[in-house]
C-alpha cells in the first residue's frame, strides 16, 4: 500500500448519516447535520470546529442519507481549517467493493466499513462523534483522560435532570468514573449521567470489536446497543468523561427552535462569541446587512446580506433575508434567502431557506379562519409552525399554528 498519510495519534469519525425524521420537512432534502442553526451555522459546524480546536486534523464524515448538500458544504474543508496536506476532512459515503457493497447498517457498521480509512493514519485513538448536537467540547481533554486511565474506551457523559434521564442512554459508574453498567432509556434510572454519543476508543480495541460485531448476524451494529455492552461484558476498562458545558440535541422541531431562541438569552448557554473557540462555518459572499429607517429591532440575531424594513422581535435571521416594510417577525427563525412580504406576520415559526411569504400573510395564526390543511402536531408541537424550503405563500394567506407546510399555498 502506498503511504500518503503521516501517522496521526488521533482520528475523528463524525456520524452524519442520520435522517433526523423528527425534523420533518427540514430534513426532506438534507441530512440532519446539514440543518441550519444560529443565523449562519449548520449543526455539523460544531463537531468540525471542535475537532479543529482540539487539534484533531484527520476527520472522516460518514454520510448516507441525502448527502449532496452536506458534501457541497464540507467540500475541501477549508472553512474549518481542515484542508490539510496530511489528513484533513473526508466525506465517506457507503461504497461497493469486489466482494460486496452495502449501505451503512448501523453506527458501528458505518465505522467498520471505513476501518481502512482509519488505518491509513496508524492512529492510537479514534474519537467517534455524532453530528447531531450543538456543543463546544475539547475532545483532547477526553483523549488525555483516556490515556491517563489506560482505558479501552472512554464515553463522554453529561448530567441531565433526573426526570429526563429515562430518555437517554445512562451510564452507571463507580466513584472513579469506571462504567459498570450501560442502560438504554431505563424506566428507573440509577444515574443521571447520559451518554453524549461521543466516544474515544483505543484503536486496536475498536478494530477488534467492530470486526467481531460485523461477524455476528444478530447484531444491530450499533455502538450503544452492541459494541459498548459487549465491551462491558468482556470486562474491558470503560471510563466516563464528564462534560459540563452546553449540550443540546436538536433532533426535534421544538428542540431546534429552543436552541436557537436560547442564543438570544442574556447569558446564553452556548456562547458563540467566544474568540478562543470560534465556530467556523462556510461564509457566504454577502455585503453587511441593511437596516432601513422604518425597521424596528428588539433582541434578535441578524446576519450579512439581509435587508430589514419591518419589525423583528426575539428572532434569529439568517443571511440574505428580506423583511418587507410593516412585516412583523416574533419568536421565529428565518433561514437563508427567505423573503417576508410587506405587512406579513410571522409568529413562532421556522421559515425554511428560500421561502417567500406573500404580502399580508400570517404564519402561525391562532385565528379560527386560518387554513389548517398542513397542521401536523406530530412534527410541530408547542405552537411552532414550520415552512419547508423554497415554498411560496400567497398574499394574505393565513396559516394555522402547528402547521408543517410542504407545498406552495395560494
Amino acid at each position: 500500500m502506498v503511504i500518503f498519510m503521516k501517522a496521526k495519534e488521533c482520528v475523528a469519525m463524525i456520524l452524519a448519516g442520520g435522517q433526523g425524521s423528527r425534523l420533518g420537512i427540514l430534513t426532506k432534502n438534507v441530512a440532519k447535520p446539514a440543518v441550519p442553526f444560529g443565523g449562519k451555522y449548520r449543526i455539523i459546524d460544531f463537531p468540525l470546529s471542535n475537532c479543529t480546536h482540539s487539534g484533531i486534523d484527520a476527520v472522516g464524515v460518514l454520510t448516507q442519507y441525502q448527502p449532496l448538500e452536506l458534501n457541497t458544504y464540507i467540500a475541501g474543508g477549508q472553512s474549518w481549517d481542515l484542508d490539510r496536506g496530511s489528513g484533513g476532512v473526508y466525506v465517506l459515503p457507503p461504497y461497493t467493493s469486489a466482494e460486496k457493497g452495502e449501505w451503512y447498517k448501523g453506527t458501528a457498521n458505518a465505522i467498520y466499513q471505513n476501518l481502512g480509512f482509519i488505518s491509513q493514519f496508524h492512529p492510537k485513538y479514534v474519537v467517534i462523534l455524532s453530528g447531531d448536537h450543538i456543543y463546544k467540547m475539547d475532545y483532547n481533554k477526553m483523549v488525555k483522560q483516556h490515556k491517563k486511565a489506560k482505558a479501552d474506551a472512554t464515553i463522554a457523559v453529561i448530567e441531565v435532570p433526573w426526570e429526563e434521564a429515562s430518555r437517554f442512554g445512562i451510564m452507571n459508574t463507580d466513584e472513579e468514573l469506571n462504567i459498570v453498567e450501560f442502560e438504554e432509556k431505563p424506566a428507573n434510572p440509577k444515574s443521571n449521567l447520559a451518554s453524549m454519543g461521543v466516544y474515544c476508543f483505543s484503536w486496536e480495541v475498536l478494530e477488534k470489536y467492530l470486526t467481531e460485531d460485523e461477524n455476528n448476524p444478530d447484531s444491530d451494529n450499533d455502538f450503544g446497543k452492541n459494541i459498548i455492552p459487549a465491551m462491558l461484558n468482556d470486562g474491558l476498562k470503560l471510563v466516563a468523561h464528564r462534560f459540563d458545558g452546553y449540550w443540546k440535541d436538536v433532533g426535534t422541531v421544538q428542540s431546534l427552535w429552543e436552541a436557537n431562541m436560547e442564543l438570544l438569552d442574556d447569558n446564553p448557554g452556548c456562547q458563540l462569541n467566544d474568540k478562543s473557540w470560534r465556530i467556523y462555518s462556510k461564509t457566504p459572499v454577502k455585503p453587511p446587512h441593511y437596516i432601513a429607517p422604518e425597521a424596528k429591532l428588539r433582541n434578535c440575531y441578524i446576519t450579512e446580506g439581509c435587508e430589514i424594513y419591518g419589525e423583528i422581535d426575539h428572532s434569529v435571521i439568517f443571511e440574505g433575508v428580506t423583511i418587507g416594510e410593516g412585516a412583523k417577525i416574533e419568536d421565529s427563525i428565518i433561514m437563508s434567502g427567505a423573503t417576508i412580504g410587506e405587512g406579513a406576520i410571522v409568529y413562532k415559526s421556522i421559515i425554511g431557506t428560500g421561502v417567500t411569504v406573500g404580502k399580508g400573510a400570517v404564519v402561525g395564526s391562532m385565528d379560527d379562519s386560518a387554513r389548517d390543511e398542513f397542521v401536523n402536531t406530530k412534527i410541530c408541537s408547542a405552537d411552532i409552525t414550520l415552512l419547508g424550503a423554497d415554498v411560496t405563500i400567497g398574499d394574505g394567506v393565513k396559516i394555522a399554528v402547528n402547521s408543517m407546510v410542504t407545498e406552495n399555498m395560494d
Binding site: 461564509t283 459572499v285 455585503p287 453587511p288
Partner: protein, 376 residues
C-alpha cells in the same frame, strides 16, 4: 474561461490625502463598507471578469495588505499557475517617493510582467470603487484594434476645486481619444479618466522603458499625452456606480452612499452575480439588544448593539452600549462605544474605545477622525 489579460493594481497612489487612515496601512488596505478593504472591489471585479493572474504593487506599509490578501484564497486566486502576486517594492531608492509615479512602479515589476503568460495588461488604481465587467472592456479593446483603451466615467459638472484631481479626455465620435487634460483649470469635457487602462504587454514594457530612459515618471502625462498622435487611444465608458476615494471627505461620503439601495445593489453586484469578495473572519451574527434603535444603517456581523444608531456604517465586531447614540458615523472593526456616548459625523478607525458618557461631534463637511487603537 480565462482570458489573455493579467491585472496590475497599484496599492498606493501618491496623489491621495487620506490622513490618519493610511498612517500604518497601504491605501489599498483602507477599510470600506462594513467588511471590506478598498482593494476588494477592483480585485473582485477582475476575478469576476475571468482575470486569473493579478499583480498588486506595494511600495511600502504592506503588512496590513498582505495580512488581508494572504494567498488569495478568499478571491479563489490560490492557484498552481497564475493567481495573486504581491509585488514587493523594487529598489526605487534613487527616486523620491513623492515623485515615483506609475512608470517607476511598472518598471520595477517588469520581470513579473515578462514571466506572465498573458499578452495584455489591465492596469488600475485601487481607489476607484465600481462593479465592472473587464471582460467586456477587453473584448471592446480587441475589436477596436486600439493600442490603449482608457476607461472613463462621465461627470457633467465637476466642482472647480476638485478639477485638479481629474484627468479629462476628449474623444471623437468613434470614441478615439484626441486630447488629454491632466489636472485642468477648467472643465472642457465631461469624460473623467478612471485610472484604468488596457494595453498589450510588450507595448507597455517598451513605453515604460523609454519613459524611464528619459527620466519620466507619470503614465498619463509622460506616456499617454506624448503618444496621442502616434498610437491609437480608445475610450471606454463605464456607466453606473463609481466611487472615487482620494481624501477623508470622499471616503466618508462614499461609505455613506451605500445606504442607498440602488448604489448598494450595483456596487455589490447583487443583481448580476458579480459579488465582492473579502477575507473571511468567522464572526457571529450581529446581536441587537432589547433597547436597540437602528435606522438606515449598514451593519456587519459580530456587532452587539444596545443603543441608537442612525445613518451609520458599522464594521465587524463593533459594540454600541446602552444609551449611546450614533449618527452619520463610520465605525471600523472591533471599536467599542460605551454606554451613554454621543457621536455625530465621526470616523473611528479599528479598535477605538470611547469611554462611557463621552461626546464627539464632527461636521458633515469635515468628519472627525479617531486613529486606530485610540482610547478616548
Amino acid at each position: 474561461m480565462k482570458n489573455d489579460m493579467l491585472g496590475l493594481i497599484f496599492a498606493e497612489n501618491p496623489e491621495v490625502s487620506m490622513g490618519e487612515l493610511v498612517g500604518r496601512r497601504a491605501l489599498a488596505a483602507v477599510p470600506f463598507g462594513g467588511r471590506y478593504r478598498i482593494i476588494d472591489f477592483i480585485l473582485s471585479n477582475m476575478v469576476n471578469s475571468s482575470v486569473i493572474n493579478v499583480g498588486i504593487t506595494t511600495p511600502h506599509n504592506y503588512q496590513s495588505l498582505t495580512d488581508h490578501l494572504g494567498t488569495g484564497k478568499a478571491w479563489d486566486m490560490d492557484r498552481k499557475n497564475n493567481g495573486l502576486f504581491i509585488l514587493a517594492p523594487a529598489d526605487s531608492s534613487e527616486i523620491p517617493e513623492k515623485l515615483a509615479g506609475g512608470v517607476d512602479t511598472i518598471h520595477g515589476i517588469k520581470n513579473y510582467l515578462r514571466r506572465s503568460q498573458q499578452n495584455y495588461v489591465l492596469v488600475a488604481d485601487c481607489n476607484t470603487l465600481c462593479n465592472m465587467n473587464f471582460d467586456e472592456v477587453f473584448t471592446a479593446h480587441l475589436e477596436s484594434e486600439a493600442d490603449v483603451t482608457m476607461i472613463y466615467h462621465k461627470i457633467p459638472h465637476i466642482p472647480e476645486r476638485e478639477l485638479k484631481r481629474h484627468i479629462l479626455l476628449d474623444a471623437d465620435e468613434t470614441g478615439r481619444i484626441r486630447d488629454i487634460h491632466v489636472y485642468p483649470a477648467q472643465q472642457k469635457t465631461d469624460l473623467s479618466y478612471m485610472h484604468m487602462f488596457i494595453i498589450r504587454k510588450d507595448l507597455l514594457i517598451d513605453l515604460v522603458d523609454d519613459a524611464v530612459a528619459h527620466g519620466k515618471h507619470f503614465l498619463s502625462k509622460d506616456i499617454f499625452l506624448p503618444q496621442l498622435n502616434h498610437l491609437h487611444f480608445q475610450g471606454y465608458e463605464h456607466t453606473g456606480v463609481h466611487l472615487k476615494i482620494d481624501d477623508i471627505k470622499s471616503f466618508f461620503n462614499s461609505n455613506l452612499s451605500i445606504l442607498n439601495k440602488e448604489t448598494r445593489d450595483e456596487l455589490f453586484g447583487l443583481k448580476n452575480d458579480m459579488p465582492i469578495y473579502t477575507k473571511v473572519k468567522d464572526t457571529v451574527p450581529t446581536k441587537y439588544g432589547k433597547h436597540a434603535e437602528v435606522s438606515n444603517s449598514i451593519v456587519a456581523d459580530g456587532c452587539v448593539i444596545e443603543g441608537t444608531v442612525k445613518n451609520c456604517i458599522l464594521f465587524r465586531g463593533v459594540y454600541v452600549g446602552k444609551g449611546a447614540s450614533l449618527e452619520n458615523c463610520i465605525v471600523m472593526q472591533n471599536s467599542q462605544i460605551m454606554d451613554n456616548c454621543l457621536m455625530e459625523n465621526v470616523i473611528f478607525d479599528k479598535e477605538v474605545v470611547l469611554r462611557s458618557g463621552k461626546k464627539l461631534i464632527g461636521q458633515e463637511t469635515y468628519p472627525m477622525i479617531i486613529g486606530k487603537g485610540t482610547v478616548v
